[in-house]
């Protein structure tokens, strides 16, 4: 029954993977990072498509990047070099980390066509920073309009409404899952979110609404495994999730940029649509590429407490400087709270291997003792 409910989302992902019925999302603009204001892209008449790496090999991308770049960026470029993103009208990227910044410029050189724009997002929230943010958004709008888009403030208002509704439904699912009341697994939640990253938001919202109706009275199966939170950038393959859950763990919360983190907050107040957009992105649940480890602690602790997690597993894409740099501080703070932390690093194959399985089993034994 549940599988049937998730099936439309899997179908949307598979259809996108085959680049089937692309006309449903065209014209489309790609983005790497969830700090990219996708509402502006949508309001200009483009479907924002999140570029992903997915598990696989890296061959051609090594002609453009060294091996010590995160799997996400290497694999995304590999896919682009294999023509998988030829349908995009360009890439707009909200400035996050060094690798993503370089990737936009490398894509411009290696892939070409359309626009390649890195949006210089401010790190502060004072009036000057907000004014600058507005100007930076205007520059994106001008480029999108020059590409055939037609942006207006009223369209932005509608786009904000659409994405707020989407985020609210997903956050509602998360709230239920924190209470152990959602009959969806972590992997199924990630599947839902992935489908949204490659679909038109209008069609996606309809799918979510239908799912919400079906799940209204559904009950979750109670499990006795050890509740854990996972944290990281993108988890791009289900194997590690399955391994955690087959080693004695039960994932009850996530701090992933292809999971919960990108949804919070669903919206923000403000006088104009642009102000509301800016306020939301400034109030975003922080990513380590743009914040202090200390700023991440309060929302992470809140997630641990409301989900009842007893430990945290960091699933880090190999060579991810922002996440690796925060690890010592998070480890210290979590230890003080009595929450064990396990750090796992995965390469582009996303295959955890026997050693990680053993580490997971020992970790859960230790947490459960």
């Amino acid at each position: 029954m549940l599988e049937n409910l998730i099936q439309p989302f899997e179908a949307a992902i598979n259809q996108f993977k085959k680049r089937d019925q692309l006309e449903k999302v065209l014209p489309a603009i790609g983005y790497f990072c969830t700090y990219t204001p996708i509402e502006v892209i949508h309001a200009a008449g483009f479907t924002p498509i999140r570029i992903t790496g997915d598990a696989g090999a890296v061959e051609k991308a090594y002609a453009h990047m060294p091996d010590f770049i995160c799997p996400f960026m290497k694999r995304a470029l590999e896919k682009a070099l294999n023509g998988k993103y030829d349908f995009l009208s360009g890439v707009v990227q909200g400035y996050s980390c060094d690798a993503a910044c370089g990737a936009v410029n490398i894509w411009r050189d290696a892939i070409g066509g359309g626009i390649y724009h890195t949006l210089p997002l401010p790190y502060n929230s004072n009036p000057e920073a907000r004014a600058f943010y507005k100007s930076a958004l205007n520059e994106v709008v001008e480029k999108l309009n020059a590409l055939g888009g037609s942006f207006s403030e009223s369209k932005l208002d509608s786009s904000l409404g659409l994405y707020t509704e989407i985020r609210n439904i997903l956050l509602d699912f998360y709230e239920r899952s924190f209470k152990g009341d959602l009959p969806l697994s972590t992997q199924q939640m990630l599947t839902l979110i992935e489908a949204g990253a490659v679909s038109s938001p209008e069609a996606y919202l309809d799918m979510l609404k239908a799912l919400k109706t079906h799940l209204r009275n559904a009950n979750a199966e109670k499990k006795q495994d050890i509740p854990v939170m996972i944290s990281g950038s993108l988890v791009e393959d289900p194997t590690i999730i399955e391994m955690i859950e087959s080693s004695g763990g039960r994932i009850v919360a996530d701090d992933l940029c292809n999971g919960y983190r990108q949804l919070v907050p669903a919206a923000a107040d403000g006088g104009s649509p642009v102000d509301r957009l800016i306020n939301r992105y400034i109030q975003r649940m922080p990513c380590p590429a743009r914040s202090r480890a200390e700023d991440r602690l309060a929302p992470l602790i809140e997630l641990m407490q409301k989900s009842g997690a007893k430990a945290m597993i960091l699933i880090i894409q190999k060579f991810c400087t922002p996440h690796l740099s925060d690890y010592p501080s998070l480890l210290k703070a979590f230890k003080e709270k009595g929450w064990p932390v396990l750090l796992l690093e995965l390469d582009e194959s996303w295959q955890p291997g026997g050693q990680i399985k053993t580490r997971l089993e020992s970790f859960f034994e230790m947490v459960g003792a």
């Binding site: 002609a63 453009h64 990047m65 060294p66 010590f68 770049i69 400035y95 980390c97 060094d98 690798a99 910044c101 370089g102 990737a103 410029n105 490398i106 050189d109 290696a110 890195t118 210089p120 401010p122 790190y123 502060n124 004072n126 000057e128 920073a129 004014a131 600058f132 100007s135 930076a136 520059e139 590429a289 743009r290 202090r292 480890a293 200390e294 190999k318 060579f319 400087t321 922002p322 690796l324 740099s325 925060d326 690890y327 010592p328 501080s329 480890l331």
Partner: protein, 415 residues
């Protein structure tokens, strides 16, 4: 650093540098002792001139890392930071300075007197992620320091417009007010103009010094790159101008008299990316095959000319341009810069240091490599290494690749 790992210096003025380095770090300690505010900041921006104009002593934790490498302190610093949980995959500057402030800094008798504790931390937003994370760690280590969270748009040089400049100016003004509120020191605009004049003179001298490297034979090589120290730490001071004037005079004399680095200069090389601070002697390695490293990307980023009539705007522009000039923020501009340098300096071959400790500079190298081959027919070689962590460098692999490359270059030139 053992003797063979130190570069062989041939300029008399290079040998003066030890005194300047010692004096600079002594001044940092003296400032602290005398109650002058000490501000730790990232390099490559216009805050240094503001500091000197406001009698605030700037200290550069990144610059301390090459000093640690030269004194062989890096392994100890790495041990401290890695024991704290910092991964070996993170930039070596980060692991070195975090290790230092949490380890050796607490001990007496560190070389050059060590670094004085900061009264102010200028934490960057923008620039590379490791530097931002270094300052977050410094905030933890020095909780009494006043923190200014700076913001700077990350924009390719060719895309910088008035919006970015206006915001960078607004940030400079916010920073000046912060320093005044924190230290009670007000900015005297005449003093700032004088500082900017000195900074611009240093840049003009730097450009002039670099221009003599067009001479064949080249009067000095990358082995003397240590002179860059004054561009990093002393921009905006008379001391930098005086020193660079002496360097310029010596280099000019050598260039005009045809006195080259080596007897028989056969191959002119370009180095891309940060040097291996623990093994500067590598720059002399090429000499056995008649090669000299004539120019580098890294040395270009320290010279951004200024307009003393518009000091704040000039400093804002310097902040906006410096980092993109050498990083993946501005790959096209960097490519243009390297290609121009290869034309101007009559380069025969390029060495790309694929630097595990610096993603922003390493990204874009392959694009530049291709452009060199396609547009200028200049071959290049990639050296896998790390500017701080010796464990990521293999001398045998370096020699194998460089020897083959030098043979190929020599063949091409008919030697």
């Amino acid at each position: 650093m053992t003797e063979e790992r130190k570069s062989k210096k041939r300029l008399k003025t290079s040998k003066e540098l030890n005194r300047l380095v010692t004096e600079y770090y002594l001044n940092c300690q003296t400032a602290k002792a005398e109650g002058r505010p000490v501000a730790w900041m990232p390099p490559m921006n216009g805050v240094i001139e503001l500091c000197y104009a406001m009698d605030v002593q700037p200290v550069f934790p990144e610059n301390w890392s090459p000093v640690c490498a030269a004194f062989g302190l890096t392994p100890q610093n790495f041990k401290v930071s890695e024991d704290m949980g910092y991964s070996r995959d993170i930039c070596g500057y980060l692991r070195n300075i975090i290790g230092y402030v949490n380890g050796l800094m607490n001990e007496k008798d560190t070389p050059l007197g060590g670094l004085p504790e900061p009264d102010i931390l200028f934490t960057p937003g923008g620039g590379c992620v490791p530097v931002m994370k270094i300052f977050h760690a410094l905030e933890r280590r020095f909780p009494k320091a006043a923190v200014f969270s700076a913001d700077l748009p990350q924009v390719a040089i060719e895309d910088i417009n008035d919006t970015h400049i206006d915001y960078a100016i607004a940030e400079s003004e916010r920073l000046i007010n912060f320093v005044t509120e924190t230290t009670g020191r007000r900015l005297d605009m005449d003093r700032l103009r004088e500082t900017v004049v000195l900074s611009d003179q240093a840049c003009a001298l730097w450009d002039e010094i670099m221009s003599f490297r067009r001479y064949i034979p080249v009067p000095f090589s990358a082995a003397e790159m240590g002179i860059m120290f004054v561009m990093v730490t002393l921009q905006g001071t008379q001391k930098a101008v005086d020193y660079l004037t002496r360097v310029r005079d010596e280099v000019r004399q050598k260039a005009e008299s045809g006195s080259g680095v080596i007897e028989n200069e056969k191959l002119r090389l370009f180095w891309d990316n940060i040097p291996l601070w623990y093994n500067m002697g590598l720059f002399n390695y090429f000499e056995a095959a008649g090669g000299v490293v004539v120019a580098e990307t890294y040395s270009a980023a320290w010279s951004i000319r200024m307009d003393p009539q518009n000091p704040i705007r000039s400093l804002a522009l310097k902040s906006l341009k410096s980092y993109p000039l050498v990083s993946c923020v501005s790959i096209n501009k960097r490519k243009e810069m390297v290609l121009n340098a290869c034309r101007e300096y009559a380069i025969d071959g390029v060495i790309f240091h694929r630097n595990k400790s610096c993603i922003p500079i390493t990204l874009g190298q392959m694009e530049i490599k291709r452009a060199l081959e396609e547009e200028l027919n200049i071959p290049s070689v990639i050296i896998d290494a790390d500017h701080m962590d010796e464990r990521n460098f293999s001398m045998a692999q370096f020699q194998t690749r460089v020897d083959a490359f030098m043979e190929m270059l020599a063949d091409r030139k008919g030697y």
